[in-house]
C-alpha cells in the first residue's frame, strides 16, 4: 500500500502480498508525510549506506539483517510504538498448543503444534502448522542470540528437570511448559526486529527443521560475527549512566523476584499442610453426626461444607503452582540473559575505546579516521540504540505482565474465598432448621 490513503491506519510496510523490495522505504518522502512529524527520522540516521541492502536476502524476500546501524529493520525497532501492536495492524499470529507424546525406540518426548497465521510477504503461505519439540525451541533461541546479539531475547522455560522429582510427562508439567513456550514465541512475534529473523521464519514454516539445522552456519549475520569475535580482555573505561542504571535495576529486580518466588512457594507449602489437617477435620463431624439424632443433619452439613473448602483450597494451590510460579521464574531467567547482553555491550564499547586510544597514541595523519575504528563506533552506537529500545519495550511488557500476574493471583484468592463463602452460607438454613416432631 503506497501513499494516498489519508486517514486509514498505516500498516507496516511489510504487510500485504508485495515483497519488501516493492515497498516504499520508510525513509522515502511519501511515507514520512504519512508518518507525521513526530516520526521523521533525525538527520544523523540518514547515512548514505543506511538504505536496506536489498542484495542480501533469501529467495522469499526476507531481508538479512545488516550491520548498518540504521538498517531499515533496526530503524523500525526504534520507531515502533506499542500502539501499533493492536489487532488492526498485527500481521503475524503464532500459537503453541496440542501437546502430544511420542514414544520411539530411543526416547520418549513431547511435541507441540505451532500454528502461524500471517499476511507478511516473508511467508509464502498465509497459514502454517508444524510440530516442534523443546529442542527446536532451544535451537531457535540460540540462533536468535547468535544472529541478534544486540537484542534482548525472551527466555525459555528451564531445560533440565530433575528426573524423579518432576514428572516430565504429567499433564500439569506439560501444560505449564506449553504456556511458557507460547509466551516465548508471542514475545518474538511482537518484536519488530526479531519477528523478521530468518531462523524464526524457518522455525514457523519448515516441514523438516532438522535438515535446515544442518545447513546452519552459512547465513550468520555480519553483526553476529563481529560481536562474536570481540574477545574479552578489553577493559571498559566508563559505562554510560543509563546502562549502569539498567544493570543495577536488573540486579535488584531479580533479587526481589527470587524473594517473591520463595514466599509463594512457602505459602503453597503451608496451604497444603493446612489442607492435610482439614481433610481429617471434616470427617470427624460426620462421625459425630452418626452418634446423634437431631444433630445428625447439621453435623453432616458442616462436614460436607469443610469438604468443599478443601476442594477450593486444592484448586487455589494448584493454580498458584501452575500459573504464578513459572512466570516469576521466567522473568528471573529473562533478567539473567539481559545482564549477559549488557556485558556484551560493555565489551563492544571497550573494544572501540581501546582502538580509539591506540589510534590517538600513534599520532598519525589527523583527518582520516581508520575505517575499522569507525566500524567499532557504529557497532557501539547501534548496540546502544537497539538495547535502549528493547529495554523500553521490555519495561512496558514487564509492567503489563506483572500487572496481569498479580491481579491473577488476587483473583484466584478471591475465587477461593467466594467458594468457601457460598458453602458456609448455604448451610446456615440447614443449621437453623427446626426439626419436625420426631
Amino acid at each position: 500500500m503506497s501513499g494516498g490513503a489519508a486517514g486509514a491506519p498505516k500498516p507496516l510496510p511489510s504487510s500485504g502480498p508485495k515483497s519488501l523490495r516493492e515497498m516504499p522505504h520508510p525513509l522515502a518522502t511519501s511515507s514520512s508525510e504519512e508518518m507525521g512529524p513526530a516520526l521523521t527520522p533525525s538527520p544523523d540516521l540518514l547515512l548514505p549506506r543506511s538504505i536496506a541492502d536489498k542484495d542480501l536476502s533469501l529467495p522469499n524476500g526476507t531481508p538479512v539483517d545488516t550491520s548498518s546501524p540504521a538498517s531499515s529493520s533496526s530503524l523500525l525497532n526504534r520507531l515502533q510504538l506499542d500502539d501499533d501492536l493492536d489487532g488492526e495492524t498485527r500481521d503475524l499470529f503464532v500459537t503453541v498448543d496440542d501437546p502430544k507424546k511420542h514414544v520411539c525406540t530411543m526416547e520418549t518426548y513431547i511435541t507441540y503444534r505451532v500454528t502461524t497465521k500471517t499476511t507478511r510477504a516473508e511467508f509464502d503461505l498465509p497459514e502454517y502448522s508444524v510440530r516442534r519439540r523443546y529442542q527446536d525451541f532451544d535451537w531457535l533461541r540460540n540462533k536468535l542470540e547468535e544472529s541478534q546479539p544486540t537484542h534482548l531475547i525472551p527466555p525459555l522455560p528451564e531445560k533440565f528437570v530433575v528426573k524423579g522429582v518432576v514428572d516430565r510427562f504429567s499433564e500439569e508439567f506439560v501444560e505449564t511448559r506449553r504456556k511458557a513456550l507460547d509466551k516465548f514465541l508471542k514475545r518474538i512475534t511482537d518484536h519488530p526486529v526479531l519477528s523478521f529473523n530468518e531462523h524464526f521464519n524457518v522455525f514457523l514454516t519448515a516441514k523438516d527443521l532438522n535438515a535446515y539445522k544442518k545447513q546452519g552456519m552459512a547465513l550468520l549475520s555480519k553483526m553476529g560475527e563481529s560481536v562474536k569475535y570481540v574477545t574479552g580482555g578489553y577493559k571498559l573505561r566508563s559505562r554510560p549512566l543509563e546502562f549502569a542504571a539498567i544493570g543495577e535495576y536488573l540486579d535488584t529486580f531479580s533479587l526481589k523476584l527470587g524473594t517473591i518466588d520463595r514466599i509463594a512457594q512457602r505459602i503453597i507449602k503451608e496451604q497444603l499442610e493446612y489442607l492435610v489437617e482439614l481433610r481429617e477435620y471434616g470427617p470427624v463431624y460426620s462421625t459425630w453426626g452418626g452418634l446423634e439424632v437431631e444433630l445428625a443433619e447439621p453435623l453432616e452439613g458442616v462436614s460436607a461444607c469443610i469438604g468443599n473448602c478443601c476442594t477450593a483450597l486444592e484448586e487455589l494451590s494448584e493454580d498458584m503452582s501452575e500459573d504464578f510460579l513459572p512466570v516469576l521464574r521466567e522473568y528471573i531467567l529473562y533478567s539473567e540473559s539481559m545482564k549477559n547482553v549488557l556485558k556484551k555491550r560493555d565489551q563492544v564499547q571497550a573494544e572501540y575505546e581501546a582502538k580509539l586510544e591506540a589510534v590517538a597514541l600513534k599520532k598519525e595523519e589527523r583527518p582520516k579516521v581508520p575505517t575499522d575504528v569507525e566500524k567499532c563506533q557504529d557497532r557501539v552506537e547501534c548496540f546502544n540504540a537497539d538495547l535502549k529500545a528493547d529495554m523500553e519495550r521490555w519495561q512496558n511488557n514487564k509492567r503489563q505482565d506483572f500487572r496481569q500476574l498479580l491481579m491473577g493471583m488476587a483473583d484466584k484468592n478471591i475465587q477461593y474465598y467466594e467458594k468457601c463463602l457460598t458453602a458456609w452460607e448455604s448451610i446456615i438454613p440447614l443449621l437453623q432448621d427446626k426439626p419436625e416432631t420426631k
Binding site: 535495576y249 535488584t252 529486580f253 526481589k256 524473594t259 517473591i260 514466599i263 512457602r266 505459602i267 503451608e270 496451604q271 499442610e273 493446612y274 492435610v276 489437617e277 482439614l278 481429617e280 477435620y281 470427624v284 463431624y285 462421625t287 459425630w288 452418634l291 446423634e292 437431631e294 444433630l295 447439621p298 453435623l299 458442616v302 461444607c305 509492567r399 506483572f402 500487572r403 498479580l406 491481579m407 488476587a410 483473583d411 484468592n413 478471591i414 477461593y416 474465598y417 467466594e418 468457601c420 463463602l421 458456609w424 452460607e425 448451610i427 446456615i428 443449621l431 437453623q432
Partner: protein, 417 residues
C-alpha cells in the same frame, strides 16, 4: 445472659418459673491474682473470681438494686460441684471449665496464669453458675445459694453436710466393671453414647487445634509479601505506588488471623463444655449401674439366706457347704442351737426384705428422676450445639468476607500498577 430455653417437660415439682436464674442476675465479673498461704503453709499464687449477684425484680421496677459480691477461687467451685454430684446423683451436673489449658495450638499459652486463659475461665465459671441457677432441681439447693451469697464460713457449711461420707468411692474407679445381670438397656445405651461423645469431641478439638495452627501459618507468611513489595516498589517508576499499597493490604491480611482465631476459641470452649458434660452423663449411668449392682447383690444375699433358713428348718441340705459337712461329720447341732440360728436368719431375712424393698423403690425413683433430667439435658444439648455450629458457620462466613475484601483491595492496587 440467660442462654437456655428449656421447655417445661418432665420436671415434676420444680418449675422453670421457680428457677433461681429468673430471680437473680449472676455474673463472674472479675478475676484477680492473689498470693496466700496454703494448707501446708507454703506460699502460693492463685486467681480469685468476683461473683456478683443482683435481684431481678427490683430492676424491672426501674430501681437499681444493690449488687452483692464475693470472691471465690477455682477450688471452691470444685468443692461446690463435688457436693452437687454426691447429693444429686440422678442429675447431669453442669461441668466446670477445664482446670488446665488443654487442646492448645502453638500460639496459645498452656499457662494457667496467662491472661487469655484466665479470661476464658472466668467466662466458663460464669456459665457454670448460670447453668446451675437455671436447673429446676439444683437451683433450689441451699449450699448453692450460700455459695453465691455467703462469703465467710461457706466451706465449713459444706463440710458439715457430711456429703463426703455419702460419696461412693466406687464411682471414682471409672474403669472397674461390675457385672450386672439385668442391666437397664436405656442406661447401657446412654453410657455407650457418652463414651463415644467424649471420644469424638476430643478428636475434634485436637484436630481443630492443628487446623488453627496451620491456618495461622498461611496468613502470617503473606505478611512477607508486604515487605518485599515495598522494597521492589523502590526501584520501579510507574509500578511503584500500586505495589506499595498492595503490600500494605498483605500486612492487613496477615494481621487479621489473630482476631479470627481468638473468636474461634469461644467455639472450642462450647465444644469443651459438652465434652465435660459427657462425663457428667456417664457418671449418672455409672451411678445407676452401681445401684443396680447393689440391688442384685442384696437380692442374691437374701435368696441365699432364705435358702439357708429353709435348709436348717427342714434338715435337708440342698447345697453343699463346709459347715454342713462338718456338722454331719462331727455330729449335728442341738435343736436349740438350730432354733437360734433360724431365728437370727429370719431376722436377717426380714431386714433384708425391707432393705430390698427400699432399694427397689430407690432404684425406681432414681430411674424416673434421672431419666427426666436426661431428657432435659438432651434437649439442652441439641439446642446449644446447634447454636454453636451456627455461630461457627457465621465465623467462617465472616472470615471469608474479610478475605474477599482484602484481596479485592489488593487487586485494585495491582490494577493501578
Amino acid at each position: 445472659m440467660e442462654k437456655q430455653n428449656e421447655r417445661d417437660t418432665c420436671c415434676e415439682r420444680p418449675r422453670m418459673e421457680d428457677c433461681l436464674s429468673k430471680k437473680i442476675e449472676i455474673t463472674v465479673s472479675e478475676a484477680e491474682k492473689r498470693t496466700g498461704r496454703n494448707a501446708m503453709n507454703m506460699q502460693e499464687t492463685y486467681t480469685a473470681y468476683l461473683i456478683e449477684t443482683r435481684a431481678v425484680e427490683s430492676q424491672n421496677e426501674g430501681q437499681c438494686s444493690p449488687v452483692d459480691s464475693l470472691w471465690r477461687r477455682y477450688s471452691e467451685f470444685e468443692l461446690l460441684r463435688n457436693y452437687l454430684l454426691v447429693i444429686y446423683p440422678h442429675i447431669v451436673v453442669p461441668p466446670l471449665p477445664e482446670k488446665r489449658a488443654d487442646f492448645v495450638w502453638h500460639k496459645l499459652s498452656a499457662d494457667n496464669m496467662d491472661p487469655d486463659f484466665v479470661e476464658r475461665r472466668r467466662i466458663g465459671l460464669e456459665n457454670f453458675l448460670l447453668r446451675v441457677a437455671s436447673h429446676p432441681v439444683l437451683c433450689q439447693d441451699n449450699i448453692f445459694y450460700s455459695f453465691l451469697t455467703q462469703e465467710g464460713g461457706w466451706k465449713e457449711m459444706v463440710n458439715e453436710t457430711g456429703f463426703q461420707l455419702k460419696a461412693d468411692s466406687r464411682l471414682k474407679a471409672l474403669n472397674a466393671t461390675f457385672r450386672v445381670k439385668n442391666p437397664d438397656k436405656r442406661f447401657t445405651e446412654l453410657k455407650h453414647y457418652s463414651d463415644e461423645l467424649q471420644s469424638v469431641i476430643s478428636h475434634l478439638l485436637r484436630v481443630r487445634a492443628r487446623v488453627a495452627d496451620r491456618l495461622y501459618g498461611v496468613y502470617k507468611v503473606h505478611g512477607n509479601y508486604g515487605r518485599v513489595f515495598s522494597e521492589w516498589s523502590a526501584i520501579e517508576k510507574e509500578m511503584g505506588d500500586g505495589l506499595q499499597s498492595a503490600g500494605h493490604h498483605m500486612d492487613v491480611y496477615a494481621a487479621s488471623i489473630d482476631d479470627i482465631l481468638e473468636e474461634e476459641e469461644h467455639y472450642a470452649d462450647q465444644l469443651k463444655e459438652y465434652l465435660f458434660y459427657a462425663e457428667a452423663l456417664r457418671a449418672v449411668c455409672r451411678k445407676h449401674e452401681l445401684m443396680q449392682y447393689d440391688l442384685e447383690m442384696a437380692a442374691q444375699d437374701l435368696t441365699s439366706k432364705k435358702q439357708q433358713c429353709e435348709e436348717l428348718a427342714t434338715g435337708t441340705v440342698r447345697t453343699f457347704s463346709l459347715k454342713g459337712m462338718t456338722s454331719k461329720l462331727f455330729g449335728q447341732e442341738t435343736p436349740e442351737q438350730r432354733e437360734a440360728k433360724i431365728k437370727v436368719l429370719e431376722e436377717q431375712i426380714q431386714e433384708g426384705e425391707e432393705q430390698l424393698k427400699s432399694k427397689n423403690l430407690e432404684g425406681r425413683d432414681f430411674v424416673k428422676s434421672a431419666w427426666a433430667d436426661i431428657e432435659r439435658f438432651k434437649e439442652q444439648k441439641n439446642h446449644d450445639l446447634k447454636e454453636a455450629l451456627i455461630s461457627y458457620a457465621v465465623m467462617q462466613i465472616s472470615m471469608c468476607k474479610k478475605g474477599i475484601q482484602v484481596w479485592t483491595n489488593a487487586k485494585e492496587c495491582f490494577s493501578k500498577m
